[in-house]
């Protein structure tokens, strides 16, 4: 009997093992499904959180320009445009800022701000070189005009080509920002601290940021000294020039100052802040950098201190002296010998 029972026991044992194996497999499968489910759910949470940022970032980045021929007076080494790791060679970025209120057609705006930035990752040095918007130059699109018109005739490509041709500096990347973009950026940072160099008074400041009439004026006053500015106040500080004897030169100084203040404020940001900031910028910021290139540059930007930054502003003579009359407006006649020497000093080949 026992012998007769043995197979049954064996069968029972086998069934027991099969049941146990099946149960283990079932448990493993459930565990895998749970992990997969939670992983999928968690990933969905991550995607949902960063979706606005990804959408906005894709909107902001990757704006390709055509016509960057590199036919410049000089030639400096440039990083591969396709690289995804932080560049190790010096590279140049053209920062463009525009009044993009409703007075202007989109993409046919003047660039009141043109700052050529050279970053050297090896020496940890940065040069910010402001180009006066009233400089009379040959445009890449033909003819001569103030340099701020280059963008209005041919977008970023024309602005880049014009700067490359006239200044002999190859440009690796460009970033364009409109009025609203600057205001939103500063507000998203919670404000920026500046030491206002002097009182800024302007009774005819353009009141074109909001409202239906972009030709309205406003009275503004920014008090001097250390203070925290919100986006609108920061824009008033860097944009007003009427009451300043240095006019555009002072504006360039203040713009460079604000860039460093924004960099200081941005140091506290983390990855989780990206969605809010990217979403707020909307159509007010554009760049030809890809998202991965932009991401690779961020750690580099954090590594620089204010002491690593050389601020270069051409303050009149000898870089430009005489004035050219153009359509009833004054333009600055450049002395290219002097300007080329200055450029060669800060943008070595």
């Amino acid at each position: 009997m026992p012998a007769a029972n043995r197979p049954r026991r064996r069968r029972a044992g086998l069934r027991s093992k099969q049941t146990s194996f099946s149960w283990s497999r079932h448990r493993a499968l459930v565990a895998v499904l749970l992990v997969f489910g939670f992983g999928l759910s968690g990933a969905s949470g991550v995607v949902a959180y960063f979706l606005p940022a990804i959408t906005a970032a894709l909107n902001i980045t990757g704006h390709q320009t055509t016509g960057k021929s590199g036919k410049s007076k000089g030639a400096t080494p440039s990083p591969s445009p396709g690289t995804t790791s932080a560049p190790s060679q010096p590279f140049n970025v053209l920062l463009l800022g525009s009044d993009n209120d409703t007075k202007f057609e989109p993409d046919h705006v003047l660039t009141q701000t043109m700052i050529l930035v050279r970053v050297d990752p090896q020496t940890h040095s940065v040069v910010m070189f402001s180009i006066p918007r009233d400089l009379w130059v040959s445009l890449s699109t033909g003819g001569s005009a103030k340099i701020d018109a280059a963008y209005s005739y041919g977008g970023a490509a024309a602005a880049i080509q014009t700067v490359e041709n006239d200044f002999g500096v190859p440009i690796n990347y460009w970033v364009w920002i409109g009025l609203g973009g600057l205001v939103q950026l500063v507000n998203q940072l919670g404000g920026v601290n500046v030491v206002a160099q002097m009182p800024i008074l302007d009774d005819e400041y353009p009141s074109d940021l909001t409202g239906s009439n972009p030709y309205l004026q406003a009275r503004i006053a920014v008090l001097p000294g250390p203070q925290r500015l919100n986006g609108v106040d920061a824009l008033e500080y860097v944009r007003s020039r009427h009451g300043d004897i240095l006019s555009d030169i002072a504006r360039s100084q203040k713009q460079q100052q604000l860039l460093l203040d924004i960099k200081a404020a941005a140091k506290t940001l983390g990855l989780a802040d990206v969605p809010d900031i990217a979403s707020s910028l909307g159509n007010s910021v554009k760049t030809d950098m890809s998202l991965t290139q932009l991401t690779s540059l961020l750690p580099l930007a954090r590594a620089f201190s204010d002491g690593d930054v050389n601020e270069v502003i051409m303050t009149g003579s000898p870089y430009f002296g005489s004035v050219i009359e153009s359509d009833g407006e004054d333009a600055l006649a450049p002395d290219w010998t002097q300007i080329d020497a200055l450029v060669a000093q800060y943008f070595p080949t």
Binding site: G37, F38, L40, S41, G42, S44, G45, V46, A48, Y49, F50, Q188, L189, G190, G191, V192, N193, V195, Q197, M198, P199, I200, L201, D202, D203, E204, S207, L216, Q217, A218, R219, I220, A221, L223, P224, G225, P226, Q227, R228, H242, G243, D244, I245, L246, A250, Q253, L260, D261, A264, A265, K267, T268, L269, G270, L271, A272, D273, D276, D306, T315
Partner: protein
């Protein structure tokens, strides 16, 4: 499935909590001061005036204006500047009692004419209580766009009188601000200028009477402004950039009625601003960012022994707040 859904929601929420503070701040009523200061201190944050007493902040019951500056006035009252926004923008000066109620309006700078609107900032009552000094804007009718600040004064008892102008600003260079009326009858103020090389700077100047030739108390290289005279009238606190575009130091120098002694740095930045003296003249209150983060909002700081002879070390008085750095704190006994 529900738990998984909640997990996804949790991940989303946790990511939200990982956001940096982005230097955001609290209301003063949500925080306590870190240091006990005797008496009452008045400060401005976000358009409101707060009093600080026994470590606690209390909002003043002032009218719902956008308050941007507060200064001391006789009999424990306060001078307060209210900002009225664009497009015709102007600012008025009020006399408030210590609770914030309006005693009387001192300066009325609004107009139905666009260019008739004006700014009034940095109000100060003379030591004898007779004169209200302030900074106001002057639009040059013969120079397009030229608007500069100048120093003006009116009788404190009848401030609607026509003002006496005390200074001639450098055209298109910001102008003259921050008057400190002296017991001698003269005034110290900050005068802005632009050098031929294109550098902007401020110098403290002393004038003995309206339109008198200014005596320069500091050099262009020091770039000093925001003067505050001690109650004894013998020490002057000021903010100097020493040619830095991004940083300031708080300095104290002796004052003999005609010139300043060698200044001593009592706070090495990073953005020291708007000093004011304690009633006993031994300490200086000022605003500054955190030492480790110059992008942080402005907090109240003090130097307990603020003499130019033997200054003490600065101490942080508040945290997590965001005071208006262009308004000096008022320290009343």
């Amino acid at each position: 499935m529900v738990v998984m859904g909640l997990f996804g929601l949790g991940v989303y929420s946790i990511l939200g909590t990982l956001k940096s503070s982005r230097n955001h701040s609290q209301k003063p009523t949500q925080e306590q001061a870190l240091v006990y200061l005797p008496g009452t201190v008045y400060v401005v944050q976000g358009g409101d005036i707060y009093s600080l007493s026994n470590l606690e902040f209390t909002p003043l019951k002032a009218p719902p204006y956008d308050w941007v500056q507060v200064e001391p006035a006789p009999d424990g009252d306060l001078l307060a500047v209210a900002f009225f926004a664009a497009p015709s923008s102007y600012s008025n000066v009020y006399l408030l009692n210590s609770s914030g109620q309006v005693v009387r309006q001192l300066l009325q700078e609004s107009s139905t004419q666009y260019f008739g609107n004006h700014w009034a900032y940095y109000p100060k009552v003379s030591p004898d209580g007779s004169t209200l000094f302030f900074t106001t804007d002057w639009l040059d009718p013969y120079a397009a766009y030229d608007v500069d600040f100048e120093i003006a004064a009116v009788p404190f008892a009848s401030p609607s009188s026509s003002p006496t102008v005390w200074s001639t600003p450098n055209q298109y260079q910001g102008g003259d601000v921050e008057p400190i009326p002296l017991a001698s009858g003269g005034v110290i103020y900050a005068k802005y200028a632009v050098s031929t090389a294109g550098a902007t700077y401020a110098q403290l100047v002393y004038v003995s009477s309206p339109y008198a030739n200014p005596v320069y108390l500091t050099t262009p290289a020091q770039d000093c402004s925001e003067p505050a005279l001690s109650p004894s009238g013998t020490e002057l606190a000021m903010v100097c950039t020493n040619n830095s575009l991004q940083a300031t130091t708080l300095e104290v120098a002796s004052w003999n009625g005609g010139s300043l002694g060698t200044p001593v740095v009592i706070s090495d930045g990073p953005m020291a601003a708007s000093p004011s003296w304690s009633p006993d003249g031994k300490s200086v209150l000022y605003l500054n960012t955190l030492l480790s983060n110059k992008a942080s909002p402005f907090q109240l700081w003090w130097v307990p022994r603020a003499s130019s002879a033997k200054p003490g070390a600065p101490e942080q008085v508040t945290e997590n707040l965001n005071f208006t750095a262009t308004s000096p704190a008022v320290w009343a006994s």
